[in-house]
């Protein structure tokens, strides 16, 4: 159901739309940050809400924390097969990836790449991450305005992803580009087409495939590496994947997005949240020991991926609503993470909050984020090093927001650095 925008081209207030006509899939709602009001209303008035008509077709919105956990952990009824975003995949171009598979194939492929982010590898990565963090922070202009997103959030996540793929260093920004291209489908996540249209998207992703095919062929057989490509190319369960280029591409897209947008927007969003909550920034300065806890709170607060979608494999009931076989079911993590019934003062950013790890941003169940510890580690090290250098990372302008119902993206954020007082 499309509703008329006002004279400033903004959607109306959530409370001015009849409940049954509410459609939270509009990417503009997220760009204007009005989605919080819409979800607040749904959580209160109709927590399992049916939208009968949207540009993506009809769908259920699951908005409460515990209902989301119930769907996320019931993978036998709520399938991830073919897609995990609200808009259906293009049947002519849907590269398979394990996040969008059910058991048993999902389990097999996931396990192949997990060692890249397992504890023993993380320990090796830590020093490397710190080195890169220091290099990036020490290159920043103190006292001048610059874009934090480009210079820090993108640069750091892209460097780490290049390490995880053992990707040619000088070409690493290609990873950022392919990540943005992957998530910028107007038909699937409500993007406005300003990054790519569907045709361009396909073309760019085929270039991505070609690039990685060359990497793959250089790493077959006896190549000993713990990067994603080597793991896929040498494991008996996946070494044939290059014979199915689309499946190879799909899993690349998954790993690229998984390591990119998510941490990038948590890095930007954390700086913004501390600026909007100066008392929390004071707490951080007084006690940097709080950083690991703050990292979890930032990830909750930002909820870098706003939703995951499932498809019902059978008729089922959820919180009193009858969901039919074949229905599209959208778990709005961004809403569940603000559910006051489960998270105390959920609408406040509290860096030393109790049980900060109890949030939905990584999902729960068999599709839970595989790289969550790498993401947390990057944020932790970044904040440790920021606090050694700067009194404040000051946000000096309104940040730019992405138009998407999937990636809760900050596209640009001008800041000014204030060095530590001597």
């Amino acid at each position: 159901m499309s509703v008329a925008y006002d004279e400033n081209n903004r959607p109306p207030s959530a409370y001015d739309v009849p409940l049954e006509d509410i459609d939270v899939s509009d990417g503009l709602l997220f760009q204007t940050q009005q989605h919080f009001e819409y979800f607040e209303r749904l959580r209160k008035e109709d927590p399992v809400h049916y939208c009968k008509d949207s540009e993506f077709g009809p769908y259920w919105s699951i908005t409460k924390f515990n209902d989301i956990v119930a769907v996320d952990t019931n993978h036998k009824v709520f399938s991830s097969d073919k897609t995990i975003v609200i808009g259906d995949a293009d049947p002519d171009f849907n590269p398979p990836m394990f996040i969008a598979m059910d058991q048993p194939k999902h389990d097999v492929q996931r396990k192949v790449v997990t060692p890249a982010v397992a504890p023993v590898n993380l320990a090796k990565l830590e020093a490397h991450i710190r080195e890169n963090v220091c290099e990036i922070l020490d290159s920043l202009p103190v006292g001048e305005s610059f874009d934090w997103v480009d210079r820090v959030s993108i640069e750091l996540t892209t460097r780490m992803l290049a390490v995880l793929f053992d990707f040619p260093w000088e070409d690493r920004r290609k990873l950022t580009w392919w990540s943005d291209v992957t998530t910028s489908s107007p038909d699937q996540t409500g993007a406005d087409g300003s990054i790519v249209n569907e045709e361009e998207r396909k073309k760019e992703l085929m270039e991505c495939l070609e690039y990685f095919m060359n990497l793959w062929s250089s790493r077959g057989e006896n190549y000993e590496g713990t990067d994603f490509i080597s793991l896929l190319a040498t494991n008996p369960d996946t070494m044939e994947m290059s014979n199915d280029p689309l499946e190879f591409l799909g899993n690349l897209m998954l790993l690229i997005v998984g390591g990119n947008d998510t941490t990038r927007n948590s890095i930007s969003g954390g700086v913004l949240a501390l600026n909007q909550n100066p008392a929390e920034y004071d707490k951080l300065r007084a006690n940097p020991e709080v950083i690991p806890n703050m990292v979890s709170e930032i990830i909750r607060w930002v909820t870098p991926l706003g939703h995951m979608r499932r498809t019902a494999l059978e008729d089922t009931e959820l919180n009193g609503k009858q969901i039919k076989k074949g229905d599209r079911v959208v778990m709005w993590y961004i809403s569940g993470n603000r559910d006051e019934e489960v998270i105390e003062n959920a609408n406040q950013f509290i860096i030393d909050r109790d049980k900060a790890r109890h949030h939905l941003s990584f999902g729960f169940g068999i599709h839970r984020c595989m790289g969550n510890r790498v993401g947390e580690m990057q944020l932790r090290i970044l904040w440790e090093e920021i606090m050694k250098r700067f009194e404040k990372v000051e946000v000096i302008g309104e940040p730019g927001r992405l138009r998407s119902n999937f990636v809760m993206g900050i596209t640009e954020m001008m800041v000014k650095l204030h060095p530590l007082k001597a």
Binding site: V69, Q103, R110, P119, F362, G365, I366, R368
Partner: protein, 106 residues
């Protein structure tokens, strides 16, 4: 109350009393035993309360559900004796139970 001993990967022992009906995960968290993250709060959905139960106790700690088996499948260093602490409810029969913690919960 039954007593349960949690042994960290570095050998540190924590002997605590856990009320009947609570889970081994809650017993650890409530008593500030380090090394159990329990991100999902006990929904068998995150595999961050991974423990090892010695074989002689297995008949008393019950069987794993399909979901628990699946979640453990993704846990680091999972073994035959691995369990998720949130899925074991404390009973009088578990008095004296000893469980070991893995090196990390991921």
């Amino acid at each position: 109350m039954p007593s349960v001993t949690y042994i960290e990967n570095n050998g540190s022992e924590h002997k605590v009393e856990v009320a009947v009906g609570l889970s081994l995960m809650e017993g650890a968290v409530n008593n500030l035993v380090p090394g159990i993250d329990a991100d999902c709060g006990g929904a068998c959905a995150c595999a961050t309360c991974h423990i090892y139960v010695d074989p002689e106790w297995q008949s008393k700690t019950g069987n794993k559900t399909d979901m628990e088996v699946t979640m453990l499948d993704f846990a680091e260093a999972a073994e035959e004796t691995s369990r998720l602490a949130c899925q074991i409810k404390v009973t009088e029969d578990l008095d004296g139970l000893v469980v070991r913690l893995p090196i990390a919960q991921f």
